[in-house]
Symmetry: C2
Subunit: 368 residues, 2 copies
């Protein structure tokens, strides 16, 4: 591995520290180095805080290091946008950085390449197209390209494809799988479940351990014709959480009135069924850039069928649940057009198995 790749990997590691706090900005990390000597490191901590390059420059200055002629490694193309603070490109050049290695170009179509161009007027710039750096902004790329949050679908199924051996029964993934799901939850801006899950499991959908967020963690329940009970645990007010969002079909407005005092009810479209693509647009308007959906099967199947899922976090438990009462992983949805899956990680989490896959959007697959 070249030394450039080593520093870029390190910058990616740093970037991950901001995961869950930077939205609607992406996670970015930066390292300033000269030969084998690291002069400064930094990452973007949260929206509104300095960008990663600036953090790294400040760290180098604080340590008394001279960055003249040094190389800046940054996971994402530096911005060339003069805002409340100077553009990162300007700060980098003014500091005397001699060369820049960039992990990935800015996926924002209005910005892509501008930072590179500006820097190249003065110093050499390498764009690595690093897979890890690209993976870091996978969620941001979806968010910035469209008008909907990036959606990860977590399901936990048996080898034969069921979520439970009968309605209302439960099985628990092992501790390692649960810890992983907690991480997934807190890495997103919001957690989403269907009304059936609220009725059957009555979850709180909190994030453990709770931590300071610039914006409160958002819990979302997707309803069809009927509202969830107002006394559901997910609707209880908790410090540090925004009022829970209830997505309701516009045509069922009357029936959801009683929830308006305990939840933020977003009416979507004017039909009797929840129009999922519109619902996701509504979530985007609420400033939510990434969502973890934790089921149940009906909602999961509909989201896949609608082409709204970007990533699967598919937990498989080595059990067989099949019988006439067993609940299918994706209900009765037709998910054959959901897109091609590209597995990028298979891991054993205790006794369970995690298959992590990107859902590639087929041209034929249109959002419903």
């Amino acid at each position: 591995m070249s030394i450039d790749r080593v520093y870029l990997r390190r910058a990616c590691e740093l970037a991950e520290r901001g995961r869950g706090s930077t939205a609607p900005n992406p996670c970015v990390g930066a390292v300033i180095a000269s030969g084998t000597l690291t002069l400064g490191e930094g990452y973007h901590r949260e929206a509104g805080a300095p960008h990663a390059e600036i953090e790294a420059l400040r760290a180098a200055a604080a340590a008394g290091h001279d960055v003249h002629g040094a190389t800046l490694y940054v996971t994402l193309e530096p911005c060339d946008l003069q805002g409340r603070t100077p553009a990162c490109t300007q700060a980098v050049l003014e500091a005397g950085i001699g060369r820049v290695v960039i992990g990935a170009l800015d996926p924002n179509p209005n910005m892509a390449g501008r930072g590179v161009e500006r820097l190249r007027e003065s110093i050499p710039v390498a764009v690595a197209g690093d897979p890890w750096a690209l993976a870091l902004i996978e969620d941001f790329s979806v968010w910035i390209a469209g008008t909907r949050p990036y959606l990860t679908l977590k399901m936990a199924v048996s080898l034969d494809g069921f979520v439970a051996a009968s309605p209302g029964t439960h099985w628990l993934t092992g501790e390692r799988a649960r810890a992983y799901v907690r991480e997934l939850r807190s890495a997103a801006d919001a957690v989403l479940v269907g009304a059936g899950t609220v009725r059957i499991d009555d979850p709180q959908l909190t994030v453990r351990p709770p931590r300071a967020r610039r914006r409160p963690y958002q819990r979302v329940v997707a309803c069809e014709a009927d509202p969830i009970p107002p006394q559901s645990r997910v609707l209880a007010r908790i410090d540090g959480y925004a009022p829970t969002i209830v997505l309701a079909p516009g045509g069922a407005r009357g029936r959801f009135a009683e929830l308006e005092s305990v939840a933020r009810v977003l009416y979507v479209g004017d039909g009797e069924r929840l129009a999922l693509a519109l619902a996701f647009k509504a979530l985007a308007r609420e400033g939510i850039s990434s969502v973890l959906c934790e089921g149940g099967p009906t909602l999961a199947g509909r989201l896949l069928a609608a082409g709204l899922v970007d990533r699967l976090a598919w937990l498989v438990t080595p059990q067989l649940f099949g019988n006439v009462h067993a609940l299918r992983a994706l209900g009765s949805a037709d998910v054959t057009g959901a897109g091609t899956l590209q597995v990028d990680c298979v891991e054993r989490l205790g006794d369970d198995l995690l298959v992590s896959a990107r859902v590639g959007k087929d041209a034929s697959c249109s959002a419903v």
Copy 2:
């Protein structure tokens, strides 16, 4: 790892070379060593051929090595049975072997411990209880303890638990998964499918690459009320293969008469449904000690429900097949009592995933 463990592992590797040829005997491997010097190696090649210990002694002699005082590593307890040839225990002692390390005791209840006892009258013997050595005889242990073949169930399913998006459609596992299934097939004495698979896929069920076997490879089709077409490819006579066995319910005898000229029809019980436990006893009487079942879903589900499956070779393809026409992995069988699964291997085979698990028999699970 101690040097004993290193040699025992080597003996296990050697044993695997006999896989598929030794039935109804188990695979056994042996190494004779003195300190770090290997004097001789051997394995049981096929039923009727010398046992592994004898092969190793012969190899040492052929190389001109003196085995006096050397250590014999053997994966399975040497036999103490005087047959056409002297008992292995006697041959080992006569050769002057100074110590024996045994991977696993003979699972044959009539033989277990007898070899160890006989050897210990003269020399020190260590019984390692080695997991690999035990895994080597997993199939033989089932076969020798009961009156049915050891059954491996291979299924290939989507993430959401279907074998196909609609009846009659196909999906292909990748080349690496197919190669693995070919290995599984040739490691067993027989391959088994249900009548539905024959009607829909019309497979030949041959073993590739073909190889010399002491006993011809056996193809088996399990039928319910109706026979498969006599012109099915699986019934065509092929050199090196025995006539295909058709398992038929005794109560449907009349309808299967036309198959008797092209297949070996075994009538089981006297009902109109195939009694699977009885069918497996019939296969055992045919000298079949291990079976690979390759589905389809109906047969697979019934075998699991009947508690007849010893091991799952569960291939998962990273696709979603769910829709109203999709075929469930195990049909509508109730497999909740099939036993607890103990995963001992998760592997990526190209794009596919292999979960290999032992099916632990619950006391509550009785064969039907």
